[in-house]
């Protein structure tokens, strides 16, 4: 699960570290720390936005730990499926039952179709679509793409995937 938090803390040495420590104790992985000093730097308050990847069920624990250290949490955003990948589909997308195609992805439980933009030029011509998939992990994303390719092959729909560079 991806979590983003907006925190308000005293602008004193050691404050930021004291917040980051419980994150790793809860098994979290910090993705980004966005550090914005207040325009009015005399206020003595530091606004920090943290984006982290956290195992399911650990959020309440983490929130308690952070509060205990005298830091105010002003906002929490949760996103279970935060990996996104957009692919293109070309073929008779409507006539091969697009809602079935979307359903097959959604039914997996680990992937969702987040967006679908469809362009249909004329009734007998091939249509084109951009489909955006969301998953929690890279492995799930690969499984979802494989499933979409399989479903599309049966329906004679061409899938254009993004070029994923090797690391």
């Amino acid at each position: 699960m991806q979590v983003s938090m907006k925190l308000e803390m005293k602008d004193t040495p050691g404050q930021l570290v004291s917040v980051l420590t419980p994150i790793s104790q809860c098994g979290g992985n910090i993705i980004a720390v966005i550090h914005q000093r207040d325009q009015d730097s005399d206020s003595g308050v530091l606004d920090v936005q943290i984006v982290l990847d956290l195992p399911e069920g650990r959020l309440d624990d983490l929130v308690g730990q952070i509060k205990k250290r005298g830091v105010t949490i002003t906002r929490i955003g949760k996103e279970r499926l935060f990996l996104q990948r957009s692919l293109l589909m070309i073929g008779h997308i409507m006539h091969t039952d697009i809602s079935d195609t979307v359903d097959q992805i959604d039914r997996t439980g680990f992937a969702e179709v987040a967006e679908l933009s469809l362009v249909m030029p004329a009734i007998s011509e091939r249509s084109s679509a951009r489909i955006t998939l969301k998953t929690a992990t890279a492995a799930d994303m690969n499984s979802a793409v494989t499933l979409l390719r399989k479903v599309s092959e049966k329906k004679e729909i061409l899938i254009v995937e993004p070029l994923e560079e090797c690391g």
């Binding site: 957009s86 951009r130 254009v160």
Partner: protein
């Protein structure tokens, strides 16, 4: 260095032109197209041969067969630049086998022999102390094979990605820039001389796949063939799909991809972001090598053209002249 040029189409004429114009120490002692041949140990008058070809369609004497030139002419290196025949690689394979068996070096731009008979030809060359070089088979003027075989010594190449077919890249570029349909862009490519009357070899991804096979066998000695490559062409791409990609600051290009540790050999249209190093325009080619020491290296250049392809052939010849001179 004395050479025999087999094939007097675009590439062969390009080689002749460069040899004529630049003082490279190269003399052409044998020359043949598919139906005629000419030999002269003192050097063939190339301008006369070019004029004859333009006027009559024959570069030499119709009673001299191409194989007569391969077997009879006095040369150090055979330049096999006849068109690729993917069904069997002939007659180029026979030409190269005969030259190597005579202990002569061979340089080729013909993908057929290298994609179909790389190991056999390589072994034959080694057993006769001859060199076999084929820079011009992959990405035209880009010296990617030379870089791989010489400049990246000590590196392990983990993967490669490339835009390896100028015809497809031209079509996709025009579809993106002008909103043309695939058929319109193909017609334009034909008018410009970038596409053959039967464009399927290019647009179905076969040409790019052959280059991928050649690279994979050269880098990793995988012994793969065209059948091992998963191939999807660009002939079903719609301008709508490209527009949908552009809305996200991406576009579509035909990408050839090899990642041996995943067992992946694939040629397919792919979404790539604007500003990506492989996103080249028009008929250009580009190739990215992912290496363990040097990191990522991307080369961009002309993938076809008479003099551009001749550049790769000449480079191979001069390399042999410098490193394996006077062998035979």
């Amino acid at each position: 260095m004395r050479i025999a040029i087999l094939g007097f189409g675009s590439v062969g004429r390009g080689v002749a032109q460069v040899v004529q114009e630049k003082d490279l120490g190269i003399t052409v002692t044998g020359l043949a197209d598919s139906r005629s041949g000419i030999m002269d140990p003192d050097g063939i008058d190339l301008q006369a041969a070019l004029d004859r070809k333009a006027k009559t369609g024959f570069c030499g004497d119709r009673s001299t067969a191409p194989l007569d030139v391969v077997d009879g002419a006095e040369y150090d290196a055979l330049v096999e630049v006849s068109p690729t025949r993917i069904e069997d690689g002939e007659p180029a394979i026979t030409h190269i086998v005969h030259a190597l068996s005579r202990g002569k070096h061979a340089v080729t731009s013909n993908k057929g022999p290298i994609a179909l008979a790389h190991r056999r030809l390589h072994t034959l060359a080694a057993s006769h102390g001859a060199q076999l070089r084929y820079e011009a088979t992959v990405c035209g003027a880009i010296p990617v094979l030379h870089v791989l075989q010489h400049d990246l010594l000590g590196n392990q190449v983990k993967a490669l990605h490339g835009v390896m077919n100028g015809t497809c890249n031209f079509i996709l570029t025009r579809m993106e820039d002008e909103g043309l349909t695939y058929d319109q862009a193909l017609a334009e490519a034909r008018e410009m001389g970038y596409a053959e009357a039967d464009p399927s070899y290019d647009v179905k991804g076969i040409d790019a796949a052959l280059k991928l096979v050649i690279l994979a066998n050269t880098i990793w000695d995988l012994g793969v063939t065209l059948d091992d490559v998963e191939i999807t062409g660009i002939d079903l791409i719609t301008p709508d799909a490209i527009r949908l990609a552009c809305e996200r600051e991406t576009t579509i290009r035909l990408i050839a991809e090899a990642i041996p540790e995943k067992g992946l050999l694939r040629v397919s249209p792919r979404i790539i972001p604007h500003g990506h190093p492989l996103l080249v325009e028009g008929t250009l080619n580009a190739v990215t090598l992912h290496t363990d020491l040097a990191g990522e290296l991307t080369f961009i250049g002309k993938g076809a053209g008479s003099v551009e392809t001749a550049s790769a052939v000449i480079g191979d010849l001069l390399y042999i002249g410098e490193h394996h001179a006077g062998a035979h």
